[in-house]
Amino acid sequence: MEEIILKHRFLPKHEILSEEEAEKILKKYNVSKRQLPKIRLKDPVIKVIGAKEGDLIKITRKSPTSKESPYYRVVVDE
């Protein structure tokens, strides 16, 4: 899909975490991938950044109280 949607100012930054980074996050929160919030494989952003099922996505949101706040989602095919 068009990359232009990534440029919208309301869209927080989505990035695919590497295997090691993902492992670190799972360890930090002591969770399995099943216990993390999900994002669909057919989500427009996921399609554009080309993530695969099972990838861990880091979403960096802007926050009025803490400037930036990271959020993590696992790509699922549902």
């Binding site: 929160y29 969770v31 216990q35 993390l36 919030p37 926050s63 109280t65 803490s66 706040s69």
Partner: protein, 853 residues
């Protein structure tokens, strides 16, 4: 019992097949008799001990377990003739209509059938089961008027259901036997289009040939005081079924005439129908001998008193009381006044130890009729003994270590107090009990806010915790002082209100006392350490002597004047709602932070009473003359109103001349309306200003809204001068007759008066036209309230239920009961709002406090 832990993958729904009913049964019931002469359950009866145990001491003949361990086991009876299941009549009708009356095939050609099945599969895959069911309904509906079978070419006759359970094929009545044979002919391949999976649901299973008998554990009999057994409604009904079934068998076997057999068959159908549902229209409900309708299967589940809403969703407790609430300003914030009549019924269990034996004996001695007494004594083996005149002596004698007595509640016992709807956690708080005369719960008016209660007839509930753990938890976590700061926005939910605010305002602003009065005032609010006053004491000094000696505070009043407290002395400014009011009392907030919740609550309650008591010295009231305006003010207001009317006229004129400047994004009409509204609002605000300036400092109304106790300048304007524009949905009133609001106006009249502007004030009185417009907005707001409250209440409930298992974990993540992460950092900043100030933490302030000293 053995438990199986497995993840559920899928659920299939189907009908019981006769085979399955037999397979899951442990008894074939053959006789309506329940017990033999010795009172022992009859073999093959409805209370057969193979159906489970309901008597202590007995063992189940099927599984060998004891009472409470055996879940009970099903049985069955063989029906002499097939019976229609009342809950399946609609399904049976659908199936009869969509299949051939002769060959039993579905009324679709093989090609059509294949097409439809494929489309069903596709719909299920793409849109889910819900839409598949919708499609099946559609298909069935499309089949019901077909005239010819595509398979055997037989002519089809319309099938009707004559309520409640007679089927007609044309004019011919269909007996359950005929229906069953028809259904048996439907091939497995055709059932799928009817929404069935033939493995779990064959159409002929809709007609009952065997009836499952539920285990006795779900219809236990109770033993009355007389020793007589009283059976459950279901057992009664099943008894009827078995009895009639037996008679039907006998008559059929004896070759009785058709009429008699048919009559019995109908009777059996009636009993089976009422066994499933005793509230079917057109079928007289089966009754007890007393005339009371039996509660059968459907009634057990359905409605407010049913299994779901009563037993599963309902929670009931003992040791609770409910009555009307009324105010008592003398009671502490964390106390609740409990009527003595209630104290006789509510008890606290107290264990006998060597230290309290003598004290507890006194309670037992007084018994249940003398307060503070004791209702029950519990022996170490758990046996509970009621104290009566006869048992008292003996119980007193045997009372020893390890016994527990249930004594009446007394002052300072802890209780949990609640007002519904419990929308936030402050709706349930712990209070110390104070036993009082009369019949209502008494609470300090200051704690109305957290409960959102008033005294126009509100009732509240009181619960007495029954274990040490519960009491400790309530005391540490739930008492009123722990709830001073709301987690909504970090402000104080409890504060001074109404007269107390006015009182503190007057006290710190202008009041002066002599020494005696000052001492008396302070003592009456419970201040014990009274400073050495001079002969003339300013109100500020009195206020200061309530505060801790080292208290430092810098704040603002409502009018943005400085308030400065240094070393516990109010040295600048005065106290008003912005310092001590609810949800905005910065002074209270600071007290809470500096001295902790207990001190803060104590000081708050003193300040609360200080305000009220201060008013006693001066007297505080308001009357009509307080809204009298001086002549020159009235003239100015009249001129203002006239000017604005002229202004509106001018606007209308320019509009009619099509010269009105149109606002961006609006039509000419909208622009005009907006400008008119602006003009009229401006004049009202201007009037408010003029009135505000003209008011005497002593004016009680001014004092009330200036201190933030109640009301605003707007309310005063409405009383003294003009009520202002009445608006419906943000617009001037435009409903009514063709082109006008009331028939007495000219068509197209846009003047303020004809569109709901009320230029008179309440004191002067408003004229009929104005009154009418006032009623319109009044009615609208009533309707709005009546419609919106339940809607938003339900919305809130659903939200609260959806979020109820979320909690902040020790690593500051928010997780649900499965430990699934919802937020990686609570609120993105992990700030506990109730420990913050208005949701944020003022770091600059913190630094100043730490190093600036």
């Amino acid at each position: 019992m053995e438990h199986v832990y497995k993840n559920i993958n899928s659920i299939s729904f189907g009908f019981f097949s006769p085979k399955l009913i037999k397979k899951m049964s442990s008894v074939k019931v053959v006789t309506p008799e329940l017990y033999d002469k010795e009172g022992y359950p009859v073999d093959g009866g409805l209370m057969d001990i193979r159906l489970g145990v309901i008597d202590p001491g007995l063992r189940c003949k099927t599984c060998g377990s004891k009472l409470k361990e055996c879940p009970g086991h099903f049985g069955y009876i063989e029906l002499a003739r097939p019976i229609i299941h009342i809950q399946y009549t609609k399904t049976i009708l659908d199936f009869l209509r969509s299949t051939c009356k002769d060959c039993g095939r579905i009324l679709l050609s093989d090609e059509e059938l294949k097409l439809k099945l494929d489309s069903l599969k596709d719909i299920e895959k793409r849109y889910g089961l819900f839409f598949k069911r919708k499609k099946i309904k559609e298909i069935i509906n499309s089949l019901k008027n077909l005239k010819k079978c595509p398979h055997c070419k037989a002519k089809q006759v319309n099938v009707k259901l004559e309520r409640p359970l007679t089927f007609f094929e044309g004019d011919k009545k269909l007996s359950p036997i005929e229906i069953k044979t028809k259904f048996e002919k439907i091939p497995d391949e055709d059932t799928e289009i009817l929404g069935l999976n033939p493995k779990y649901a064959r159409p002929e299973w809709l007609i009952l040939t065997l009836l499952p008998i539920p285990p006795v554990t779900m219809r236990p009999s109770i033993t009355l005081d007389t020793g007589e057994r009283s059976e459950d409604d279901l057992t009664h009904k099943l008894g009827d079924i078995v009895r009639i079934n037996q008679r039907l068998f006998e008559n059929i076997n004896a070759g009785a005439p058709e009429v008699i057999v048919d009559d019995l068959w109908d009777l059996l159908q009636y009993h089976v129908t009422t066994y499933f549902d005793n509230t079917v229209a057109q079928i007289p409900p089966a009754r007890h001998r007393s005339g009371q309708a039996l509660k059968t299967l459907t009634e057990r589940v359905k409605s407010k008193e049913g299994r779901f809403r009563y037993n599963l969703a309902g929670k009931r407790v003992n040791f609770a009381a409910r009555t009307v609430i009324s105010p008592d300003p003398e009671i502490k914030f964390n106390e609740v006044g409990v009527p003595k009549a209630i104290a006789y019924e509510l008890t606290v269990p107290e264990r006998v130890t060597e230290w309290n034996l003598e004290r507890l004996k006194e309670f037992v001695k007084r018994g249940p009729k003398k307060y503070p007494g004791c209702n029950y004594v519990i022996r170490p083996d758990g046996k509970k003994k009621k104290i009566t005149d006869e048992t008292k002596e003996q119980l007193l004698e045997e009372l020893q270590l390890g016994y527990v007595i249930e004594r009446h509640i007394i002052n300072n016992d802890i209780a949990i107090f609640n007002r519904q709807p419990s929308l936030h956690r402050m709706s349930i708080m712990a209070h110390k009990i104070k036993i009082l005369p009369y019949k209502s719960f008494r609470l300090n008016p200051a704690v109305c806010t957290p409960y959102a209660g008033d005294f126009d007839g509100d009732e509240m509930n009181l619960h007495i915790p029954q274990t040490e753990e519960a009491r400790a938890e309530a005391e540490v976590l739930m008492q009123v002082q722990t709830q001073l700061i709301t987690p909504k926005n970090g402000t104080n939910i409890i504060g001074c209100l109404e007269d107390s605010v006015s009182g503190n305002y007057l006290l710190t602003k202008s009041m002066v006392f002599n020494k005696d009065e000052a001492v008396q005032l302070l003592f009456s609010i419970g201040v014990k350490k009274i400073p050495n006053f001079n002969n003339v004491v300013e109100g500020k000094e009195i206020f200061s002597s309530v505060l801790p000696g080292d208290f430092e505070y810098i704040g603002k009043t409502k009018d943005n004047d400085d308030v400065i407290i240094k070393k516990g002395k109010l040295i600048k400014g005065y106290i008003d709602g912005a310092s001590i009011g609810e949800e905005r009392g910065n002074l209270i907030r600071k007290l809470h932070r500096d001295y902790g919740e207990d001190v803060a609550l104590d000081l708050l309650s003193k300040l609360f009473r200080l305000g009220i008591k201060a008013l006693f010295y001066k007297g505080f009231s308001t009357s009509l003359k307080d809204i009298d305006l001086k002549q020159d003010i009235l003239i100015r207001i009249r001129k203002l109103l006239k000017d604005s009317e002229d202004g509106v006229d001018e606007l209308i004129k320019t509009y009619n001349a099509k010269k009105l400047e149109i606002l961006p994004g609006k039509t000419a009409e909208e622009s005009l309306e907006l400008l008119i509204l602006q003009t009229l609002n401006k004049v009202r605000n201007k009037i408010g200003e003029i009135i505000g300036e003209s008011l005497n400092e002593e004016n009680p109304l001014r004092i009330m809204f200036h201190s933030g106790a109640k009301g605003s300048i707007l309310n005063l304007t409405m009383m003294a001068s003009s009520v202002g524009q009445q608006a419906l949905r943000g617009k001037r009133i435009r409903h009514g007759y063709d082109g006008r609001t009331l028939s007495l106006f000219k068509k197209g009249d846009l003047s303020p008066r004809s569109r709901g502007f009320i230029s008179s004030g309440f004191k002067k009185g408003i004229d009929p036209v104005e009154f009418f417009f006032g009623s319109m907005t009044g009615r609208d707001s009533l309707m709005d309230m009546a419609l919106r409250t339940p809607k938003s209440g339900y919305l809130y409930r659903r939200l609260a239920n959806a979020l109820q298992d979320l909690k902040v974990e020790y690593d500051y993540t928010v997780r649900d009961a499965n430990k699934t992460v919802i937020q990686f950092k609570y609120g993105e900043d992990s700030i506990d709002v109730s420990k913050s100030e208005k949701g944020t933490i003022d770091i600059r302030n913190l630094i100043r406090e730490v190093i600036g000293k």
